[in-house]
Symmetry: C2
Subunit: 371 residues, 2 copies
């Protein structure tokens, strides 16, 4: 009996080792990714988070996928007798959305099986690894808001610039009610489509509102790489053009054309990554415009940044546990000590990717416009 | 002197022959297509309508473009020393928008240089050949309407189905004004994004309204291949699911959530190609729902189709001059003789493509909801 127990313990240890060294048995329960183009069977994902690719290119010499274990490296596909190329990631991927592309005989192409999403200053392929908490951004049978594509006059990006505006369920019915507004920015290489397409900001809000977890508000999303026409680095970033476009052009247009509560108490700004950097700059430059600030994987505020703590309704800082959560935790402690109303959130098991930001929005929304 | 004149005449004849046999000199005034991804230099188009492609694929053995002279055949690209593949169409293309894709070593991919547009039941590459009349769908410094993405409850495509709703400039400001509605359908293999993305329906309306050429109205666009889940042919097409989705699900939702004039006199239906077939079926099945009917490259009505001529405010029939304009002209004559208020339009120099339908919408809009 004791020997049996010992064998079980040894077996369990060997089992753990197998998993840790990447020898885990791959479950053959692959299903098409939810982001595939209509009718397309590949790419597929399994219940463990592995991704499997199939590309038709009979005369190619080499097909690679930029996506691999933990987002590093990539996956080399192998040619089958039917002229297709197949391959599976070496390990499970992080939960949530990932950008990727193919390299076919040295050329960069998108996977014809999937939908495209704007990232890295180009439309890239996207794949969705089912997450244990995917319910909060699922398309459910609840009342839905609308996402409006608007063209507003802009001297910065003119004659017209694009923005998307989420209006909550009921916005179009009760025409006397007015709403607060969250201005929500994408990251470097993305655009104004990112928060709805890959972020599901609209579905996150629809679901939170249906559950009574947040006050309904508008979300406005516009292009933030205003002075990055040549898609260069961030070193010489100048906030002026974007700040002008946002504060002097977009906000007045939104306040004139939507039923907003047009004061600083009912206006928030948030951004992910580079959008966080922009949020920090704009909120500190224009404290008279915004009262709620949120940086998602986008840096921190220090107590020295803030002139008048009592004037700020909320500071929200977040990132993934695979980023640098200590930085967020330390900044939060410092801000708390200085008297700020600060809330932080660490997304467990995720990195600098959209699952972190979807979860951050879900945590942020209920905190906004509470008083 | 006579000899010189003879030489000139012969020269002119030889010149004409050269042009007619495809030896026309290609003007080297190529510019990036307006549908390229941000920062991408290729594909390019010149002032004559030629298209030039450049694809990076150093190790590929063969790269072809599905687009060629008059849409037939295709263009074979040739490898350059720098590892790129280049080629120019054999002749000028028709004005306007064209779908295309690449074949790289036997595999189907999109051109990484261009934006994607949903057609042929997949997201395809798109290119824009500048048209002499492109001003009517240009983005101008005029007041702009909005395109709303809505999710409406649907038992046919449920739990939620997508539609896009164009609301004209001013819709969001004067909250007492109500508007007529045009339900506008895409063609086979396309979806609810086609009329805004490749059709520029919103810009066509913005420009017509700014010039005072049309009454403002709403345009609603939803997915019409409701019973084509397997993307099969049209032979066994059953209109029932789409008609239910449109008439019993979408129209009531739009009338409840937008400021419409919710009666048949202020409701029109139009569609291109397969969408025209659907328009014909639905309008004849539901004369109590629509009063204005339009088929764009989508067939004809005969006097026998119509039970009560006096009940129909407008029948509009159109197609490109490179389609079968005689069929439209004959049907128009027959309908006129039977007493119908029928208007027809032939788009000069275009085939079964979006330039025909952009122009058709421009001609149709001013005729709608006149009385």
């Amino acid at each position: 009996m004791k020997q049996l127990q010992l064998l079980l313990v040894i077996g369990a240890i060997i089992g753990s080792f197998s998993i840790a060294s990447g020898q885990e048995t791959i479950k053959e329960d692959f299903k098409p990714s939810t982001l595939n183009q209509p009718g397309q069977k590949y790419p597929q994902v399994n219940s463990q988070g592995y991704a499997r690719f199939r590309i038709i290119a009979p005369a190619a010499d080499s097909v690679k996928v930029s996506l691999g274990l933990g987002g590093r490296g990539g996956t080399v596909l192998h040619k089958k007798e039917d002229g297709s190329w197949m391959g599976t990631t070496e390990g499970p991927m992080d939960e949530g959305f990932h950008y990727y592309h193919l390299t076919v005989d040295g050329g960069t192409f998108n996977d014809p099986g999937t939908l495209n999403f704007y990232g890295s200053t180009r439309w890239e392929s996207g794949i969705e690894i089912p997450a244990h908490d995917q319910d909060f951004y699922a398309l459910k049978d609840v009342p839905h808001g609308q996402v409006h594509k608007i063209l507003f006059p802009s001297k910065v990006s003119g004659p017209s610039a694009v923005a998307y505006v989420y209006t909550p369920p009921g916005y179009s019915k009760d025409q006397s009610k007015r709403y607060p507004v969250l201005y929500l920015q994408h990251g470097w290489g993305e655009d104004e489509t990112a928060w709805s397409n890959q972020g599901h900001a609209n579905l996150i809000m629809d679901n939170l509102i249906a559950e009574g977890k947040t006050e309904p508000f508008l979300i406005v999303m516009t292009y933030g790489m205003t002075n990055e026409i040549k898609f260069g680095g961030l070193r010489d970033f100048d906030i002026t053009p974007f700040q002008t476009k946002l504060v002097d052009e977009l906000i007045p247009y939104v306040d004139e054309n939507f039923r907003t509560i047009a004061d600083r108490e009912h206006r928030a700004m948030a951004g992910l990554s580079m959008g966080g950097m922009e949020t920090k700059m704009v909120t500190l430059n224009k404290p008279e415009t915004f009262s709620h600030y949120a940086l998602l994987s986008g840096g921190i505020y220090t107590p020295e940044d803030i002139k008048d703590q009592s004037d700020i309704k909320l500071i929200f800082l977040s990132c993934g546990s695979k980023e640098r959560p200590e930085s967020i935790k330390n900044a939060t402690a410092d801000l708390k000590e200085s008297g700020a109303n600060v809330v932080s959130y660490i997304s467990e098991g995720t990195a600098h990717e959209f699952q972190t930001w979807r979860r951050s929005l879900k945590e942020l929304a209920p905190l906004l416009f509470k008083n």
